[in-house]
Structure formats: C-alpha cells, structure tokens
C-alpha cells in the first residue's frame, strides 16, 4: 500500500478557514465558541473537538512585517512519538497507508501520547477521558476520498496524494519560490521523526518556528530513554532481583536462630 500524504503550500493559504469548517463538519464536532485574542485565529490552540487550526502568525522577517498563515494538525509521523509513548496496545495505530489513527475503544486517557508527540497535537477530553486528534479522515481515505480539509480548500493550498508524488511537488514548488526571490524557501517534513505525512512548503523554511512549527522535531529523548535503556534497567533489576533471591535461597537458605556467647 502506498503512503498517503497531505501537502500544505503555506504560500497559497488565504486564511479562509474553510478547512477548519470542513473538519468540524465531517468529524461531527461539537460546536465551541471561538476565543477572540486580537487575531483572526479561531481558537488559541487545538482542542479535543478542534483538530485543524489555521495559525495566524505575525512575524518580522528581514525588517518586513509578515503574516504567515499555517494550518496546524496531526503530522502523521512515520516514527510516531504518540505510539511510542502509548501504554495501551492498539489505542493508536499506524495504518498501512501511513495514517496515524486512534482506536478510541482502547484509549485509556493516560495522556502519555500528548507528552510523546513532538508537535504537541493530541488533546485529552475532560468529558470522555479519551484523546483526540486529526485522523487525516482515515474513514474517507479508506473509501478513496480525499480528507475533508483538502476537499474544501479553494486555493489548492492543500493537496492530497501519494507521499512520493507530493514530496516531489513540494520540492518543485520550493524551487519556484527560490527563483522568485524567496531564497530561504523550502520543504518541512520532519526528517527527525522519519518523515511526516503532512508536508509543508514554507517561504521561510530556515525559521519554521515563525509558523508555529518546531525547528527540529524529534521524539523527546526522555520518552526514548524510558522506552529503551530504562526498560532494560528495569528488567535487570526485577529479573536479577528474583534470580538472586532464588540463588541465595539455594546456596544459603534461611537464617537460623543463634545465641551469641
């Protein structure tokens, strides 16, 4: 099965928020009143019932005021930190097409995935005690449709397709932008997490933070340490402890009462 991906060409985003509405509608989300924070942004942050947010970032780049709109949602990492941190088998699954999706029957609401995610995307619902995030419309993709956000985008900022094709398109677009004078233009697709299945084209790829994206996303080292060396330390302590006790018993046995002279 080929890996699917979503391409976000931020240079074509006009901030219309149609993708937010489509996401809310298709996923049948409960309506929450937006919060006004002197910006056009619908919500300050992602929420359990809000999986797709256009961030309206204002930044001063090379002395010029820039308005950098960027859609923010689950990045569907190849090496997914949420899956690594999740204790419950099958609660978060990576589908054959690369989509990272929740199987909420198995989710226990511990929130470890929130800590494991390098992009800070999953959100715990206080009401259902389960975690929610973008599923890349796995239900639509499974029947050959494109995700709702992509279906609705009016400017072709969003494209859906095979990851290989979209990576090629993204590189081509970045070259165009460079030719247009945006010398720092480039592709953002998280090589540190094995590549993300959400690919960005950024005018200022040298400063992804200005778009609200982490500079060099990796699975947090504490999570890797916990799921790697610490596990072996634990095995050594538990099994070693029990084994030592058995050997001690066989060799020395219990203490006998003695009376010192």
């Amino acid at each position: 099965m080929q890996t699917v991906a979503k391409l976000i060409d931020t240079t074509l985003c006009i901030g219309c928020k149609a993708c937010e509405v489509a996401c809310q509608q298709w996923n049948d989300q409960e309506y929450t009143l937006g919060v006004f924070q002197n910006t056009y942004q619908t919500m300050p942050d992602l929420a359990p019932n809000f999986w797709n947010l256009i961030k309206f970032n204002e930044a001063e780049i090379n002395g010029a005021q820039s308005w950098l709109m960027a859609k923010y949602q689950c990045m569907h990492c190849a090496d997914a930190g949420c899956i690594k941190a999740c204790p419950s088998p099958g609660a978060i699954v990576q589908l054959g097409n690369g989509i990272v999706d929740f199987n909420r029957d198995n989710c226990i609401g511990c929130g470890y995935c929130i800590t494991g995610c390098p992009f800070d995307v999953p959100r715990l619902s206080p009401k259902t005690k389960k975690v929610y995030k973008c599923s890349l419309c796995s239900d639509r993709v499974a029947v050959g449709l494109e995700p709702a956000c992509i279906k609705t985008c009016p400017t072709s900022c969003l494209t859906f397709g095979s990851r290989t094709d979209l990576k090629f398109l993204a590189e081509k677009r970045a070259e165009e932008l460079k030719a247009d004078g945006f010398t720092q233009a480039g592709v953002y697709d998280g090589p540190g997490v094995g590549g993300t299945n959400v690919i960005y084209v950024l005018k200022h790829a040298d400063q992804p933070e200005t778009y609200g994206l982490p500079k060099d996303p990796h699975i947090p080292w504490t999570v890797s340490l916990w799921k790697g060396p610490l596990k072996w330390l634990g095995n050594a302590v538990f099994l070693g402890g029990i084994l030592t006790a058995v050997l001690h018993f066989v060799k020395f046995g219990p203490k006998e009462e003695h009376h010192r002279g």
């Binding site: 941190a85 204790p87 419950s88 088998p89 198995n106 226990i108 609401g109 511990c110 929130g111 470890y112 929130i114 800590t115 800070d120 959100r123 715990l124 206080p126 005690k129 947090p220 504490t222 999570v223 340490l225 916990w226 610490l230 596990k231 330390l233 634990g234 302590v237 538990f238 402890g241 029990i242 006790a245 001690h248 018993f249 020395f252 219990p254 203490k255 006998e256 009462e257 003695h258 009376h259 010192r260």
Partner: protein
C-alpha cells in the same frame, strides 16, 4: 516455653499492611502502564480505563499512609556507627556468617536503608505522579521529566521491595509473623536484634 515479646504494635501492623495493599495495586498497575510487555496485567487490575483512574488514587492513599509510617519510624531509622559497620559487612550477614557483624537494635541497618529508599522514592513518585496525572494542565517540560523519573523511581523502589519480601518471608523466619501477629520469641529477638532485646528486657 519461650516467652513472647511485642515486636510491632497494632497501629504499626495495620499501617504496614494498608501501605502494602496500595503498593501492590499501584505497583502492578504501574507495571502495566510502564511496558506493553506487562499490559496483560491491565485486565487483572480492573481494565485499562479503570486502571488509569485508580493507579494515581492508590498512589495518593499510599503516600498518606507512608507519611504516617514515616512519622512513626523516622526517629528509629537513624543510622549509627554500628549500622555503618553493619552495612560494610552486609555481605557476611547475607552469607549467614555473622561473626564480627555488629548487633542490631529494633531495626537492622538493612531495614533502615529500605526505609529511606522507600521514603525517598515515594516522594519522587508522588511529585512526578502528580504531574503525569493531569497531562492537560501540567507544563510540557515537567511532563517530559516525569515520564522518565517516575518509572526510574519505581524501579528503585521495587528493587528494594523484592529484597524486603525475600528477606522477611524466606530468610528471616518469624519476621512475617512479627508483622502479622505482632510478637516474636525471646530467642528470635536475641538472635536477630540483640541490642533491641536487651533494651526491652532491661526494665
């Protein structure tokens, strides 16, 4: 018949066993959360969703009871010069060759070390556990530290508990009885806690 000595009072025994029950639940449910290889424990501990709710509650009750136990025993757990010598010779104690190993008071140096290990790890487990309990409100930096330090403290604590259970159920016959029924024989006291024996039989 050997006369009996009271080793642990009723409040001491009740607290110890309540601590133990909470420890076993928090420990086994914690093992399920720690590694997917241990996830088979989850259905035994009430199922994933219940376990996620009960593990921290068991932890809080454990911490409160342990605090009571700490108040009761902390003064008796201070290490003296004999204890330090005992620790240096603990290898001989383990091999039942106790010539030259200093006599022990009410608690021997190994028990004292266990007490401090459990008290320290409990504080760490409580602090990091509080962070992991509420991932939606706790700062990310604290969560990243806690997700590593919480299991690390648990491994240290459980390592100590393995030794504790082995020592008290197998090696030192009568120790378990002392914690369940509360008393020991004079011979037992003389043999394992000679200094304590002289203390309680002097008056």
């Amino acid at each position: 018949m050997d006369s009996r000595l009271e080793r642990f009072t009723v409040p001491e025994r009740v607290t110890h066993w309540l601590v133990a029950i909470c420890y076993v639940y928090a420990g086994l449910s914690g093992l399920a959360l720690w590694s997917r290889a241990m996830w088979w424990l989850a259905p035994v501990m009430g199922g994933g969703e219940n376990l996620r709710g009960w593990h921290p509650i068991a932890g809080v009750i454990f911490a409160l009871l342990l605090a009571m136990q700490f108040r009761r025993w902390a003064a008796q757990m201070k290490l003296d010069a004999d204890d330090r010598k005992w620790l240096a010779m603990s290898g001989r104690y383990a091999m039942h060759d106790e010539h030259g190993v200093p006599e022990s008071g009410r608690f021997n140096a190994g028990q004292k070390m266990l007490f401090w290990l459990q008290s320290t790890s409990a504080i760490v487990l409580f602090a990091t556990g509080a962070v992991l309990w509420f991932p939606e409100v706790m700062p990310r930096g604290l969560r990243l530290i806690s997700i590593l330090v919480h299991p690390l403290a648990a491994v240290a604590s459980m390592g100590g508990i393995i030794v504790h259970i082995y020592m008290t159920t197998v090696v030192v016959q009568g120790a378990l009885h002392a914690m369940t029924r509360g008393y020991v024989t004079e011979g037992w006291a003389k043999s394992h806690h000679a200094k304590w024996f002289r203390q309680v039989t002097r008056q």
